[in-house]
Amino acid sequence: MPARSTLRALIAVAAVVPCLILLLPVIVGGVALLLFVSTVRVIGRVLEPAFVSWPDLMVFDRTLGWRPRPDLDARYLADRDDVFRIVTDGEGWPGRRPLYESDVVVVGDSFAFGYGVDTPRSFAELDPRLRVKAIGAPGYSMVQGVRLLEQFGPRLKGKLIVWFLYPENDLQDNLAPEMRQYRAPFARLDQVRGEWEIVDEHLQPLKWECSNLDTTRLFPRFCVSGPFSTRAFSACDYLIGRAERACREAGADLAVVTIPHPMQLTKRGRARLAWQSGNAALCDADLSDRRIADSCGRYGIALVSGAQHLTARDYKWREGIHWNERGHRKMASLLARIYDSFQARLLHDSVAEPVSEVVARPAPIGAAIKSPPAEGLGVGR
């Protein structure tokens, strides 16, 4: 055996010489390119402000699972994007403005958080005449939104509450006990009582080990009527009802804004959604909006369909999920219009009739939603 290994070594050394000669141009070229790219990266590191890792931005919260760290003024690296500045108040919510100084409270997930833009450039900070307080964190589902509304309770009195719903992941995350290994409160159907409930006994500052790491998005499946989507929309309906009750008891007015996924906003995206749904013939990209409109109608909540106000150009085209600065400007403008309606006491005029019977057979969203009020709010009803 030693003789064979020696022979192999000799052959290898003999063979590698012509191989390396033939590969020399590639090695030289590769090293030159690597040198170029490394120089670019070194300059990039010098120019780029230092940022903190994501776990350093979040703290454990016994009822929400996680929340942004209070009194932050730091930078973070957004996934597949860039470095952005985050500023939080004493409670950990984006922006320095305290809740009591605000007229409008926006509750939600990463969209409410202002993920993907510097906090001073998020929708909540753009309109100086509108005092908006954003309360949300990346990865929050509707369950955390409800929890926040219930926790804040009396502090919301007299304010306009705008709840950002992002069906693309909210519908799924409402039912999941974790989000990328962060333990999250979730909605569970009590089989005995036949009622939904929020479960949080598993919340601890420990990783959820059997996470699917948010790799499987079920939204396309929710665009097809069936048991799968029925369960998700049933949980959604329960959470909307609970949010309405929390706001009513607090003496606040609630309006829901649905945020579309960019796929829902283009013909090509809708075709892709239909393909991903597993049943292209029955896929209805607007089903989530209509079901949410149905729930809002039942609970007397004003609904604004973001699909009527946003276009694919308002989203980051490379990252593909969140708003760009243009999207934030548009949302700031929309919030101002919603607030004008609220002040003019026209918000409740835009509450939808329940449309359960419409949901059964897909129809254009405009058909299920009444026309906007004269002020041009574009409110979905």
Partner: protein, 183 residues
């Protein structure tokens, strides 16, 4: 961090890309002008720099488009070079080494002995974070080359380095090779 020829679309890296590109291009043009005896090489270099950066001042996406073009070009160049490197290695190195025989023992002589090797998962994980092929690892080519009679595998290091550099980044988004599936 594994070396890559692509550049991230982060503002700082885009700026870095244009700084280096503008510097290199203007230097090259300035040198060419100097060598050819042009009257004002510095003016040529400045003009080249302005010509590269000016469109970006008028149309901001120009800077990102440059990086997009670089990344696209690098993917195509890497694909072509990968093919070349593998072809050259196959015909000059692997075929020759194969003549030396195989040391692979499928266990036919001692069927009762398992040929599975237990892997230290923690050490493997730490190993996977080191891309340098000469690094001391607990598994992989470097570890194999350290075992008795397999020193010849050291000759494969330059190839591994090249193939790492020229790898297909998009494959990293695919399902990990370690994922066990039955379909």
């Amino acid at each position: 961090m594994t070396p890559s020829l692509t550049i991230a679309f982060r503002r700082a890296e885009v700026a870095g890309f244009w700084l280096v590109t503008t510097g290199l291009v203007s230097l090259s043009i300035g040198l060419m002008a100097f060598v050819r005896g042009a009257p004002a090489p510095a003016a040529w270099a400045t003009a080249a720099a302005i010509g590269l950066v000016l469109p970006g001042l008028v149309w901001r996406p120009w800077f990102e488009t440059g990086v997009w073009f670089w990344n696209g070009s690098m993917r195509r160049v890497a694909a072509a070079l990968r093919t070349y490197v593998l072809a050259v290695s196959y015909y000059t190195l692997f075929t020759a080494i194969a003549c030396g025989g195989s040391s692979f023992d499928p266990g036919t002589r001692r069927p009762a002995r398992s040929t599975w090797h237990e892997r230290d998962r923690l050490a493997s994980h730490q190993d996977d974070r080191v891309w340098w092929p000469f690094a001391r690892r607990t598994h992989g080519l470097a570890a194999f080359a350290r075992t008795a009679g397999n020193t010849w595998a050291v000759t494969l290091f330059p190839l591994v380095f090249l193939l790492t550099l020229l790898r297909d980044d998009e494959q990293e988004d695919a399902v990990p090779g370690s994922t066990y599936t039955l379909y």
